[in-house]
């Protein structure tokens, strides 16, 4: 990107804590101080920190899954009915668009629209679509996969996945000031405060 000129010198500042309680208190303090662009890193999910950092908003994943599952259900039922030659309106529709329609099967005198027999596949597709929506939705909302991220430039950060807790205040925050923010973080009693290079 050509806008590199306006970019701050570092990605932000990182403070390391030993306990989740300390990180939680630090997040609260940073938010009270007016920092908005912040993130916390931890080896396991601590519910209260997650809620605090996400501003107590519910995750959008549930809505994505609901829509995905519903799509799977509707698609599953309509597809089976169509392939077995039921639902004339759907057959007309596909004839017009694809010049192709489902073949009406008569097996054992069962009706074309054998809805009891369509329950299992409809259900399976609901779950399949729902599960894919959950996984893809979660990764997409998180912006993953992301092969590169500045936080990995900090050497001590490798302990974030073991037993340490990190608070990152980003330099793009209007309140961010290299010296002032650093002294603010140091006031929170961290193990160490580190610059996060780009």
């Amino acid at each position: 990107m050509a806008t590199a000129i306006s970019r701050p010198a570092t990605y932000g500042l990182m403070a390391e804590f030993i306990t989740p309680q300390a990180l939680y208190d630090a997040v609260k303090a940073a938010k009270a101080e007016g920092y908005e662009k912040l993130d916390a890193h931890m080896p396991y999910p601590v519910e209260d920190i997650c809620h605090e950092v996400s501003n107590h908003k519910r995750s959008k994943v549930s809505m994505i899954v609901f829509i995905g599952g519903l799509t799977g259900a509707v698609f599953g039922f309509l597809f089976q009915s169509w392939a077995m030659g039921a639902l004339p309106w759907l057959q007309d529709l596909t004839s017009q668009i694809f010049n192709y329609q489902g073949y009406p099967y008569n097996i054992g005198g069962r009706p074309y629209l054998s809805w009891p027999a369509f329950i299992p596949v409809t259900f399976e597709l609901t779950v399949l679509f729902g599960a894919f929506s959950a996984v893809i939705g979660m990764f997409a909302l998180n912006g993953l996969p992301s092969p590169y991220h500045p936080v990995f430039n900090v050497e001590r950060f490798s302990r974030h996945s073991v037993d340490r807790f990190f608070l990152v205040l980003e330099s793009e925050d209007p309140k961010f000031d290299q010296a002032e923010t650093r002294s603010f973080l140091e006031g929170l009693g961290p193990e160490e405060v580190m610059d996060v290079d780009w």
């Binding site: 519910r58 549930s62 609901f66 054992g108 009891p116 027999a117 329950i119 299992p120």
Partner: protein, 421 residues
Amino acid sequence: MSEQVIMTIDDARFDGGDGLRSVRQKALIAGVIGALATAGGYFAVGRDVFYRAYLIGWLFWLGIAVGLLSLGMIAQVAGGRWGIQMRRVQEASGRTLWFFLILALPICFGGLESLFSWARDGVAASDALVAEKTGYLKAWFDFEGTNPEWMATFVPGFIPRILIIFVLWLLWAYRLSALSNAFDAAGTHEERERARDKQIKWCAGGLLVFAVVATFASIDWVMSTDPHWFSSLYGPQFIIWQLLSGVAFSIPLMIFFGNREPLKHLLDPKQFHAYGKWMLAFTMVWGYFNASQIIIIWSGNLPEEVGWYIHRSTGGWYWFTAALVLFTFFVPFVILLFQPLKFKPKILLRIALLVLATRWLDYYWNIVPNLHPDGFTMHVFDVIAPIGIGGLWIWLLFGQVQGKVLVPVHDPVIQEALSDG
């Protein structure tokens, strides 16, 4: 574990007060008026409508009572924080079961022929399929032409079976209450542990017994209204009907007790959420059982089985069936999927009332099309009979909690919940 006394046994006693008195009074008035109307209805609407309305009302409230007791037992066996708060109230419901045994008398000694075609004279002689089952489908022990013969002596009929079923239910109900008292009376940690182990063992064994009992209950009281039809999934379905009733009825109970000592501080939104989850789970199991049953019977297409569904999908019954599926499964299912709603007692109460209404519809759907296969039928009396039974039962239930210890204060889970505040 540090023994920190936060609530004493005397604090845990429910003294009731005005709220309890007012509920009992209203229930008694409704019950007496309903019972009088029911009794009068016998002469006004005729035997057939009377007995089917009575049977459904009986099954409906019995389902709630046994469902509550079973839930308490499940909570005891499964452990965890969701179930322990309401357990004493659920046990109280077990101590009312004798009421339903008394209410079974009119069915046994008056309504048998109206409700069950197998009990009528001459049916076994003219119906080959019923003749094959006379070893089971009989009022007492011996029945003319009992088939096979050995069943005449060893297999009890409909009326002795009711007695056996209720004796087993009552045995567990009173035993569990006694064990709870023993738990409260236990002085030392070791004694309590032993009492708790005993409770868990009885509950686990009881659930096994209840499952078997429910199977025979489902055959006798519901399935055999059509003596040809059978479905081996019916016992588990009967259990789910009762559990769903119990969970749904727990919500208004929780609202009542959540406003009063001693349960006031123990019934928080998390408890409601847990019960909402159980309601969702049981609703899904209901859907699962019904879907499985129709898939198997519809695909098998055997004449003695599939007629049951044909009766329910023709005539006016078609719309009744559609409404049943919509309101028993889809509506509560979709609403309960949304997590925040399950934390709100008021919304849960509405869903619970819907679930209870569909419980009644479900019993109706399982029984009445067998008696009236040719077309939909319903009578005002169908609604009146359950009100009478329900009023009297609620009066009894609230009588059973009065003055009783409602919080097992020595239970470590309760200790933890109380200290969390």
